[in-house]
């Protein structure tokens, strides 16, 4: 019986050996850059060496400056995007699940086809569509004589762009969540006297929550990191935090400030994600499945 622990150790080390390439890859590709960013965030401003005495001055600059406005725009518009995405995607997900049953999640993949085209190209496509005398306004003008101001370069169009770009990231997990609700469970609630609305509130909504929450998180995190929609469609009407970070790293050559902003953004988003995940215990919602 004595060889048993030895065997386990050998097995474990074999597993560790197999995991080693991935571990090295993650250390170099994920942990090291993250540490570098954190490291730079406590270096004196406008310096490029990471081997100096740490200082909190970048954080002081951020908190005393106006970056919080960019933070609020990024978070606020991302939240608005998630809100509209939920309004648009849930009915679509319900419809897909009802009509196509278990094929619905596969079908949702069709919605991801636009992702194969570069986001910037798609953004410029929308510009051609929405610009004065473009596809939409030009057609309205020449066919119906209606003249309207272009919708481009407004805050609304930024949200529109983000809703458009991040739709698949909300729809896919949501459809998955909705199609996981068994038909018999809904039938049972209906049979026990619940109205259609009560079935939706008591059964459909809570049981599809895992998909909904994942969709919320995925699209929110992506929308907070959005920059192209603000620049291309929004025409710099609003400055998102991503833009501040980009400026700090490029034009102003102030890596430490950019790093400090990045760290703060990661903290805010990370905290939000953790709070939401804790609030919705996905395993508990899913039961044993």
């Amino acid at each position: 019986m004595t060889p048993a622990p030895d065997q386990t150790r050998r097995k474990l080390s074999l597993g560790a050996w197999h995991a080693l390439p991935v571990i090295v890859f993650l250390l170099l590709g994920f942990v090291a850059p993250l540490l570098a960013v954190i490291g730079y965030s406590v270096m004196p401003e406008r310096t490029f060496s990471i081997w100096q005495a740490p200082t909190a001055e970048n954080y002081v600059t951020v908190f005393t400056g106006t970056s919080y406005i960019s933070f609020l725009w990024s978070l606020g518009l991302a939240a608005l995007t998630v809100f509209f995405l939920a309004l648009i995607c849930y009915p679509i997900a319900l419809g897909l699940a009802r009509v196509f049953g278990r094929w619905s999640s596969a079908l949702t993949l069709v919605f991801t086809i636009p992702l194969f085209v570069s986001e910037n190209v798609r953004m410029y496509g929308w510009i051609l569509f929405l610009i004065k005398n473009g596809v939409l306004l030009g057609t309205l003008k020449s066919l119906f004589g209606i003249e309207m101001d272009s919708w481009l370069f407004t805050r609304g169009v930024i949200v529109f762009g983000m809703v458009y770009v991040y739709l698949p990231f909300m729809l896919f997990p949501m459809t998955l969540g909705v199609s996981m609700v068994p038909r018999e469970t809904r039938d049972a609630a209906f049979d026990l006297g619940a109205t259609r609305w009560q079935v939706f509130r008591e059964i459909d909504l809570p049981l599809s929550m895992p998909g909904v929450v994942i969709g919320f998180l995925l699209s929110f995190v992506l929308a907070v990191g959005a920059i192209a929609e603000f620049k291309v469609l929004g025409g710099q009407q609003v400055i998102p935090i991503t833009h501040d970070i980009e400026i700090a790293f490029t034009y102003s050559q102030n890596w430490p400030l950019g790093a400090a902003l990045s760290v703060l953004l990661m903290l805010v988003v990370g905290t939000l994600v953790l709070v939401v995940l804790r609030r919705f215990d996905l395993d508990a919602i899913l039961g044993r499945r």
């Binding site: 469970t185 006297g193 508990a284």
Partner: protein, 355 residues
């Protein structure tokens, strides 16, 4: 059966899906308080039938009357009936208590009274009281079964429907739950309509059984009627292993078997009978020793034997035809495999049935 209006009447109920006729012109009256079981193989239309009775499916033709009132178009949530599903369909995000109380919550019963009723039902169904707050997904198979039944009873339905809820449960527990279900039926006095593909299960619990085949109700009767007087070969075979011989009308009240090229003595033959099947249950066939006699006998070889617990089953080959014979273990046949044997039965122990 009482003289009162039947609680549920089916009048020519039909349900088609495209060209498929799932349920075909079914007429049936259910008496108040009876335990009625619909038995049939999978695909016989029994689940579709039950879903129509529960209001989850609309009949293509025919009427469903509840106490004389037509309820075809009343949706499931406004029918005084409740279904226990094959998958049980418990609410996985709710506790045992919340599952049981669901119907009461929907009705707006106040929490204290809901809890009281849930506790009462849990006691009746032998669920421990501390299960009230337990997540329903953490319960065992038998416990979940009881929660599903309690949840249906909390609705206080006039009729309870069961869609093979015991099919996924292991044999021993299933036997226990079958008996418990019959006890609950007795205690509540409600009308139970149960569907299953197991006639054995139906026999244990039911007051009456309806055998379904290809959307039609081929025979309705008490368990003993179904067992002793099956109307068709299908019903006879559905009961378990039986011997079936195709026969046609022969001379002087006898039947002719083309397989054996001989005539057998049969029970009284109905007028107009031309061809059908002679059914003999394996326990009614006996081995004929030296001076033994039977009204019908055939000679064959003992091919194999199988122990079935309290009984032993023998296969006797007569030409290409296989007879099955069953004896109690105490009365086991002493012959060896491949011995030449004679077997026989009396006319009164055989049945003449249609296809």
């Amino acid at each position: 059966m009482t003289e009162a209006i039947p609680i549920l009447q089916l009048r020519g109920i039909t349900r088609t899906f495209g060209t498929l006729v799932a349920v075909d012109r079914i007429d049936l009256d259910l008496a108040e308080g009876e335990f009625f079981t619909i038995v049939g193989p999978s695909g016989s239309g029994k689940t579709t039938m039950l879903r129509m009775l529960a209001g989850m499916e609309t009949p293509s033709a025919g009427d469903i009357l509840l106490r004389g009132r037509r309820i075809n178009d009343v949706p499931a949530n406004r029918r005084p009936t409740c279904m226990v599903f094959q998958s049980l369909a418990l609410f996985p995000h709710r506790t045992v208590g919340e599952n049981i109380e669901f119907a009461l919550k929907i009705r707006g019963v106040e929490p204290v009274k809901r809890r009281e009723r849930a506790m009462q039902l849990m006691r009746q169904l032998r669920l421990p009281e501390d299960y009230y707050g337990k997540n329903v997904t953490r319960c065992s198979g038998g416990e979940r079964q009881r929660v599903a039944l309690a949840r249906a009873l909390a609705y206080d339905p006039e009729i309870l429907f069961f869609d093979e809820p015991l099919s996924a449960i292991d044999y021993k527990l299933r036997k226990t739950l079958e008996k418990e279900l019959k006890d609950i039926h007795r205690e509540t006095g409600k009308t139970f309509v149960y569907i299953t593909h197991s006639l054995e299960e139906a026999m244990v619990m039911s007051d009456r059984i309806g055998v379904m085949r290809r959307g039609r109700l081929v025979q309705v009767g008490t368990p003993s009627e179904i067992y002793t007087a099956p109307k068709t070969r299908f019903v006879a075979e559905f009961m378990g292993d039986v011997n079936v011989l195709p026969v046609r009308a022969g001379k002087a009240g006898r039947v002719h078997s083309d397989i054996f090229g001989t005539e057998f003595t049969a029970p009284p033959i109905a007028d107009g009978f031309t061809a059908g099947h002679l059914v003999i249950r394996p326990e009614f066939i006996r081995f004929i020793g030296g001076d033994g006699k039977a009204e019908n006998t055939v000679a064959g070889k003992l091919y194999n034997e199988y122990a079935l617990g309290s009984r032993i089953q023998y296969q006797v080959r007569v030409g290409d035809h296989v007879f099955i014979v069953e004896k109690l273990r105490q009365q086991a046949f002493s012959g060896r495999l491949d011995d030449d044997v004679r077997i026989g039965w009396d006319a009164q122990d055989s049945m003449l049935v249609g296809e």
